[in-house]
C-alpha cells in the first residue's frame, strides 16, 4: 500500500504539469473533476491530508477514496517562476556556458583538463556536470578522492591566473574524523595540484572556518588537512563563522532597523549585530586568497565544511578581485552562475523558496552577505564595476521573488531534473534586455587590475539603501535624481563615442583622400585612444 500512492503521486506530478500548461487561461478547475476514473469507478470521499512520503518528505495533498483505490494529489502550488509567461528579447539561460568560460580562462591546457566524469551527477550530486581537474589525475583517482571528501565534493579548479598559472581550487573538508584517517589518493591529488605550477613549493590551503570549529568537525567525521600528513601544504584558518551565526547576526540587523530604527545608540547597536564584522572577515579571507594567488604566486585550495557556503563566498570574491572580466555585467552573471548556482550553493534550503517553515535551521543569508561584500567593494572602487547598486539590489530582490528560475533548487542536478531552463525564465533575461538601467556611468574598463579592498571596520558601512530602504526617513525627496543623472551621463557618453567614431571615420576618409594636405597634423595620430 505504501508504494502505490507514491508512484501515483510521482506519475501525477507530471500529469499535473500538463494540465497546468493547458489551463493557463485561469479557469478555476475542481481538481476532483479532473480525476481520471475508470468506467464504473465512483468517488466515495476525499480529505486534505499531509502524506509523509518516505522518499520526498511531507507532501500536503488531498486524498481521494473511490470504490477502487486511494488517490493522492498534491495541493502544493507551483512556484510562480513555472507560471511566469514574461517574454524578453534575450535569453538569460545562454549567459553561462561552462566550456566557454573555461576556454576564456585558457583551459584546458597542459596541466588541466575538462572532465565529464560527473555527467550524470554520479561522482558528486551537488557539483556541476563539467569539472576542471589536473591533467595527471585519472578518473579513477577522482573517484577515490571523492570518498575522502565530504559529500564527494572533490578539489576542482575555479579559476586560473592568466600569467603565473596559479589556481584557485575549491572543495569540501577531508573526512579525517576522530581517528585521523588518511587517504593516499587525496594527498597525492593535492600534490599534483601543487605541481601544476612550480614557482612556489608549497600549496596553500584556506579553511574558511574558525580553528575550533574545524577541530570540532572531526567528531562528525570531518576535519582538516594536517601538516604532518600534507607535507607540501600550508593550512590557514580564516575564522568565518557558520550559517547559523550569520542568520542570527542578520536577524539582529533587522531588529535595529525594523519597525523603528534604533536612534539613540545607533552605532553601538549596529556594532552589537556583528554584521559588519562578519563582512570584514569574509572580505579579509577573500583578499588573502587573491593576494596569495596574485602576489604570492602560490596555488590555493579553499574549503569550509561542505564547500557550498563560505567556500563560494571566498572563491567568487577572490575571482572578482583578480579578474576584471567578472566586474562587467555579464561577467558577474557568469560568476554567480558558476561559483554559486552550478557549484551547488543550496539556494532552496538557504532561502526556502515556497516553504513556509521560516524557522528552518538551514536558512541563512550567505548569498546576501556575498552581495553585500560586492557592494562594499563597489563603494571603494567606484569606477571598477560596470554595474550599479540597482543591479545588486535587483539580484537580491529576485533571489527571494521566485519570479525567475535562476535561484531555484539546491544544485544543478535538481535543476536539470525539474527542467528549470526550459520551464522558467532567467533573471539575466530581465537584466540583459535592459542593461542601461543597471550600468555604472563611471565604469572604466581596466584589464589586469587586481582590486584589494580595505577590509577594515572603519571602511565598511551598513548598506542603508538595501537594508533600510523602506524607511521613509531615508527616502529621497525626488524620484532618485542620481539614477536620472546616471542615465543622462551614459547617454552623453554614448553620444561622445559616436562623435569620436564619426570623426575618426572622417579623418580616415581624409587620409585616404590624396588631395588632403600631407602635412596634416592629424596624420601623426592615426588612432585616437578613448578612455571609455
Amino acid at each position: 500500500m505504501a508504494s502505490a500512492p507514491t508512484s501515483k503521486y510521482n506519475s501525477h506530478s507530471l500529469e499535473n504539469e500538463s494540465i497546468k500548461r493547458t489551463s493557463r487561461d485561469g479557469v478555476n478547475r475542481d481538481v476532483g473533476e479532473t480525476l481520471p476514473r475508470l468506467p464504473g469507478e465512483i468517488r466515495i470521499t476525499d480529505k486534505e491530508v499531509i502524506y509523509i512520503c518516505p522518499f520526498n518528505g511531507p507532501i500536503k495533498g488531498r486524498v481521494y477514496i473511490t470504490n477502487y483505490r486511494l488517490y493522492l494529489r498534491s495541493l502544493e502550488t507551483p512556484i510562480f517562476a513555472f507560471l511566469n509567461e514574461e517574454k524578453f528579447n534575450v535569453d538569460g539561460w545562454t549567459v553561462y556556458n561552462p566550456v566557454e568560460e573555461y576556454r576564456r580562462q585558457g583551459l584546458p591546457n597542459h596541466h588541466w583538463r575538462i572532465t565529464f566524469i560527473n555527467k550524470c551527477y554520479k561522482l558528486c550530486d551537488t557539483y556541476p556536470a563539467l569539472l576542471v581537474v589536473p591533467y595527471r589525475a585519472s578518473d579513477e583517482d577522482l573517484r577515490r578522492v571523492a570518498t575522502f571528501r565530504s559529500r564527494n565534493r572533490i578539489p576542482v579548479l575555479s579559476w586560473i591566473h592568466p600569467e603565473n598559472k596559479t589556481v584557485i581550487v575549491r572543495c569540501s573538508q577531508p573526512l579525517v574524523g576522530m581517528s585521523g584517517k588518511r587517504n593516499k589518493e587525496d594527498e597525492r591529488y593535492l600534490d599534483v595540484i601543487r605541481e601544476t605550477n612550480r614557482q612556489v613549493n608549497k600549496l596553500t590551503i584556506y579553511d574558511a572556518r574558525p580553528n575550533v570549529n574545524a577541530v570540532a568537525n572531526k567528531a562528525t567525521g570531518g576535519g582538516y588537512e594536517s601538516d604532518d600528513v600534507y607535507h607540501n601544504a600550508e593550512l590557514f584558518f580564516l575564522d568565518i563563522h557558520n550559517i547559523h551565526v550569520m542568520r542570527e547576526s542578520l536577524k539582529k540587523v533587522k531588529d535595529i532597523v525594523y519597525p523603528n530604527v534604533e536612534e539613540s545608540h545607533w552605532l553601538s547597536s549596529l556594532e552589537s549585530t556583528h554584521w559588519l564584522e562578519h563582512i570584514k572577515l569574509v572580505l579579509t579571507g577573500a583578499i588573502q586568497v587573491a593576494d596569495r594567488v596574485s602576489s604570492g604566486k602560490s596555488s590555493v585550495v579553499v574549503h569550509c565544511s561542505d564547500g557550498w557556503d563560505r567556500t563560494a563566498q571566498l572563491t567568487s570574491l577572490a575571482m572578482l578581485m583578480l579578474d576584471s572580466f567578472y566586474r562587467s555585467i555579464e561577467g558577474f552573471e557568469i560568476l554567480v552562475q558558476k561559483e554559486w548556482i552550478s557549484f551547488g550553493h543550496k539556494f532552496a534550503s538557504r532561502i526556502g523558496h515556497g516553504d513556509k517553515n521560516h524557522a528552518d535551521a538551514d536558512r541563512s543569508p550567505i548569498f546576501l552577505q556575498f552581495i553585500d561584500c560586492v557592494w562594499q567593494m563597489s563603494k571603494q572602487f567606484p569606477t571598477a564595476f560596470e554595474f550599479n547598486e540597482r543591479f545588486l539590489i535587483t539580484i537580491l530582490d529576485h533571489l527571494y521573488s521566485c519570479r525567475f528560475g535562476t535561484f531555484l533548487y539546491n544544485c544543478e542536478s535538481a535543476r536539470e531534473k525539474q527542467k528549470v531552463t526550459e520551464r522558467t525564465v532567467s533573471l539575466w533575461s530581465l537584466i540583459n534586455s535592459n542593461k542601461d538601467k543597471f550600468k555604472n556611468p563611471f565604469y572604466t574598463k581596466e584589464i589586469n587590475r587586481v582590486l584589494y579592498p580595505v577590509a577594515s571596520m572603519r571602511h565598511l558601512e551598513l548598506w542603508v539603501n538595501y537594508y533600510i530602504r523602506w524607511n521613509p526617513r531615508i527616502k529621497q525627496q525626488q524620484p532618485n535624481p542620481v539614477e536620472q543623472r546616471y542615465m543622462e551621463l551614459l547617454a552623453l557618453r554614448d553620444e561622445y563615442i559616436k562623435r569620436l567614431d564619426e570623426l575618426q571615420l572622417a579623418n580616415s576618409a581624409k587620409l585616404s583622400d590624396p588631395s588632403a594636405s600631407p602635412s596634416s597634423p592629424s596624420q601623426m595620430m592615426p588612432h585616437v585612444q578613448t578612455h571609455f
Partner: protein
C-alpha cells in the same frame, strides 16, 4: 626677529620620511622660515613641503644614535622623520617647535608668499557686501545697507557694512548694540525670495537677572514682521543654559517683551565640548591596535555624529520655519559667532540653490563666516593633537563643512562642488599661504592690511585650472529646497577628511 635665529640646523642629509600611502623616502631635510622640506633630489619622487603652521604637535624618540620625530599635523596627517644623529634631531625638533608656534601673525607665511600664478581676479574684491546687497536690492525694499560700524566702533566683530531694516536708523542701531552681546545687533543673514521672510542673527540679549529690556531692539526685530504675523527666535542653547547666562549679564528674549515671537531652544554644544569630541574622534581613528571590534562604539562615544545631527536638525528647523511656516526668524546663541553661524549658513544651503554653487558657497563663507566674525584665528589655532588645550580652540568650521558634506552625500547632484572643495577649505582654514582665514574678524584683518599684504584664497581657487578639480560632474542646478535626513543611519563619518588617518 630673524627666522635664522630659530633655525639651529638648517639642513640634514640621509633623513628617512614615512607618511601614509607613500613608500618611505630618503633625502635631505631643509628647514626654512615657513616650511619643512624633504627632497630626495630624484626625479619622479614627490617632495614634502610642509608649512610649519600646519604642525599641531611633535613627538621625539631615540633609538641609539637614530632619532625619530613624529609630526602631527592640523589636517590630521601624521608624518615620521628618521634623523641620524641625536644633536641634529634635537635641533630640528626644537626649531620646528619654535617655528610652528610663532606668536605674531605678521610673521606667518601669507605675508611672505608671492604667488607663482597669474591673478585673473583679485579675490579680496570678489564678494564685497555692496555687490551681495545688489543681488537682493531689486527684491527687497524694506532693507538697507548701513555703515554705522564703519570704524568698527559699534561692534568690533562686525564688518563695516551690514544689512538692517530700512525703518531703523543708525542711532537706534547704536542703542541696540549696547543691548546685545559683543555689540552684535540683529542683522540680515538671508532673505528668502519665495515669501520675503528673513533670517537674522545676533548675539544674546543682555537682559541680566533683572530683565532689562531695550525698546529699540524690540522695534528692530518687529520691523521684520508682517502685520499679524509671528516670528521665531531660535536660541541654539538649551533653556537652562540660557537661564544661567542671565547671571553673567546675558539672557534671552522674554515673552512679555517680545509677544510676537515664539522662542525655541535647541542644544548645540559649546565650542570646547566640540573640541573634546574631535580629539576623541581622532584618537579612535588613530588607534593602531589590530582589534577593531569596538570601532563603532568608539565612534559613537566621540559624539561627533551627535553634534552633526544637532546642528543639522537646528538648521532644518530654521529652514522649515522660513519656507513652510512662512515666518521670519532670529537666530542666536551666546556670542553669535559659532553655532549661530553654523545654523544660518546651513539653512541657506538647504534653502538657497545659489549657495550650492562654487561661487555661491564662497560668497556664503565670506558673508556668514569671515564677515560675520567667526574667530578663525582662535578657533583654528590648534587641532586635535595639541596638548596645550585652550578653551577657545574649536572645530566649529570643520563641523559646518562636515554637515555640508552630509547634505552633499544625500543630494549628490545638487552641488556644483565636490568634497575636495570642502577638504581644501578645511586645510586652508588651519594652515595656508593665503591671508583669507587670518585674523578673527574684519577689524583685525583691516589692521593687518591683509588685502595689501597677502593674497586671497579666492584669487587662487577661482582660476579655471583649479576650479576643475573642485567641480562635481553630477551637478545639475536644482532650484528646490533640499531637506536632508538627520536620522542616524543617514549620517556618516566623513572619511576623506580623515583620510590621512584611516588606512
Amino acid at each position: 626677529m630673524e627666522f635664522a635665529e630659530l633655525i639651529k640646523t638648517p639642513r640634514v642629509d640621509n633623513v628617512v620620511l614615512h607618511r601614509p600611502f607613500y613608500p618611505a623616502v630618503e633625502g635631505t631635510l631643509c628647514l626654512t622660515g615657513h616650511h619643512l622640506i624633504l627632497s630626495s633630489r630624484q626625479d619622479n619622487t614627490e617632495e614634502l613641503w610642509l608649512l610649519h603652521s600646519n604642525i599641531d604637535a611633535i613627538d621625539k624618540r631615540f633609538v641609539g644614535p637614530l632619532g625619530t620625530i613624529i609630526i602631527k599635523c592640523k589636517d590630521f596627517r601624521i608624518i615620521q622623520l628618521d634623523i641620524p644623529g641625536m644633536e641634529e634631531c634635537l635641533n630640528i625638533a626644537s626649531s620646528i617647535e619654535a617655528l610652528s608656534t610663532l606668536d605674531s601673525i605678521t610673521l606667518m607665511y601669507p605675508f611672505f608668499y608671492r604667488p607663482m600664478f597669474e591673478v585673473i581676479e583679485d579675490g579680496w574684491h570678489s564678494f564685497l557686501p555692496e555687490q551681495e546687497f545688489e543681488l537682493y536690492s531689486s527684491t527687497i525694499s524694506e532693507w538697507r545697507l548701513s555703515y554705522v560700524n564703519k570704524e568698527f566702533s559699534v561692534c568690533p566683530s562686525y564688518p563695516p557694512a551690514v544689512i538692517v531694516p530700512k525703518a531703523i536708523d543708525d542711532d537706534a542701531l547704536r542703542k541696540v548694540a549696547t543691548f546685545r552681546h559683543g555689540g552684535r545687533f540683529p542683522v540680515l543673514s538671508y532673505y528668502h525670495k519665495k515669501n520675503g521672510m528673513v533670517i537674522m542673527r545676533s548675539g544674546q540679549p543682555l537682559t541680566g537677572t533683572n530683565g532689562r529690556r531695550c525698546k529699540e531692539d524690540e522695534k528692530l526685530i518687529n520691523a521684520t514682521l508682517r502685520a499679524g504675523k509671528r516670528g521665531y527666535i531660535i536660541d541654539t542653547r538649551p533653556l537652562n543654559i540660557a537661564q544661567q547666562a542671565r547671571a553673567k549679564g546675558g539672557g534671552f528674549e522674554q515673552e512679555a517683551h517680545y509677544p510676537q515671537w515664539r522662542r525655541i531652544h535647541k542644544s548645540i554644544d559649546r565650542y570646547h565640548i566640540l573640541q573634546e569630541s574631535l580629539i576623541k574622534l581622532v584618537e579612535s581613528c588613530n588607534d593602531q591596535t589590530q582589534n577593531m571590534d569596538r570601532w563603532l562604539s568608539k565612534l559613537e562615544a566621540s559624539n561627533w555624529l551627535t553634534h552633526i545631527k544637532e546642528i543639522l536638525t537646528t538648521a532644518c528647523l530654521a529652514a522649515q520655519c522660513l519656507d513652510r511656516e512662512g515666518a521670519s526668524i532670529l537666530i542666536h546663541g551666546t556670542e553669535g559667532t559659532d553655532s549661530t553661524l553654523q545654523v544660518t549658513s546651513l539653512a541657506q544651503i538647504i534653502l538657497e540653490p545659489r549657495s550650492r554653487t562654487i561661487r555661491g558657497f564662497e560668497a556664503l563663507i565670506e558673508r556668514e563666516w569671515l564677515q560675520a566674525g567667526h574667530p578663525f584665528q582662535q578657533r583654528c589655532a590648534q587641532s586635535a593633537y595639541c596638548n596645550s588645550k585652550q578653551k577657545w580652540e574649536s572645530p566649529v568650521f570643520l563641523l559646518f563643512l562636515d554637515c555640508v558634506w552630509q547634505i552633499l552625500r544625500q543630494f549628490p547632484c545638487s552641488f556644483e562642488f565636490n568634497e575636495n572643495f570642502l577638504i581644501m577649505l578645511f586645510e586652508h582654514a588651519y594652515a595656508s599661504q593665503f591671508g583669507t582665514f587670518l585674523g578673527n574678524n574684519e577689524s583685525e584683518r583691516c589692521k593687518l592690511k591683509l588685502q595689501q599684504k597677502t593674497m586671497s584664497l579666492w584669487s587662487w581657487v577661482n582660476r579655471p585650472s583649479e576650479l576643475s578639480k573642485f567641480t562635481n560632474p553630477l551637478f545639475e542646478a536644482n532650484n528646490l529646497v533640499i531637506w536632508p535626513s538627520v536620522a542616524p543611519q543617514s549620517l556618516q563619518l566623513w572619511e576623506d577628511s580623515e583620510a590621512y588617518l584611516l588606512k
